[in-house]
Symmetry: C2
Subunit: 149 residues, 2 copies
Amino acid sequence: MQRTDFSAMACSIARTLDVIGEPWSPLVLRDVWVGLTRFEQIQADLGISRKVLTERLNHLVEHGVLERRPYDRRPRYEYVLTSKGTELVDLLMVMAGWGDRWRAGEAGPPVLYRHRACGEISRVDLRCDHCGSPMHATDIDVLPGPGAP
Amino acid sequence: MQRTDFSAMACSIARTLDVIGEPWSPLVLRDVWVGLTRFEQIQADLGISRKVLTERLNHLVEHGVLERRPYDRRPRYEYVLTSKGTELVDLLMVMAGWGDRWRAGEAGPPVLYRHRACGEISRVDLRCDHCGSPMHATDIDVLPGPGAP
DNA sequence: CAGGCTGGGTTTCCTGAGGGAACCCCAAGG
DNA sequence: CCTTGGGGTTCCCTCAGGAAACCCAGCCTG
């Protein structure tokens, strides 16, 4: 985990990292996303230490990214994505896209994504929400915003 | 940082985290992106320990995300994004988008992005690279790919 | 041409987070 | 009752992060 507290920085990247920047957090989120929603399942899938998994889950719940809820009359719980968390999955998809492109190697990507709307195996692409044309790092200017320091 | 080695996992998210998952790495990348390309600049801007900054920069260079190059006949160096690194900035933009939306608070986002193609202050949106319609976490099915374990 | 200055690190030491394994609690079920 | 299994806690050890001091190679200045 980061020792330094990122949440105080006037930077939305740092603030996002404050929520999912700790080691394992994105992978925990991915597991919940693909349907591994219980402590034992996630622990077994990732091989993460139980202590750390407890910490991560609590942190994600505190930040409103996951919701912890009982699924039995016994004390059994599962973790589900909130809408805030579901939007974080977009980030995971972009991460996966980069990994697919640059680190998949000979074997090719371990998973494929099928877009339900068109039925095609496709990749995610970044577009401008105004004009709809591609919007990548080199296509933009960065300006100070209202919350600038 | 993570003790566990993510690079061996058959997961493109984990493989991406192996490159930029360590604390500070995304912020180092952001700094280089916005033009803080020298050791002293980055160190001063982030307040990161010099030791850790050295490690992160070396790691990013080893992975071909940054390139280290001299800018003087004295032993002075600057770090610049490779194309592999520039594509990672897309990830930073999505991160910033989430932080803007969920954690900016009253003050509003600290920075704005102007899309050069249309001139508008806009946000990045995820689209299907086939059909061009929105492609978010809930719009896709995940299937095993050729590199599946 | 000795001494400073500057950028870019390296070293040292201390603390605390991650890993691993053992332990614990509670509610069924047999 | 005793076991089983999910969901955690506790303990201990090691190693990564933070802070600050130190180092070195070239200009630059007196």
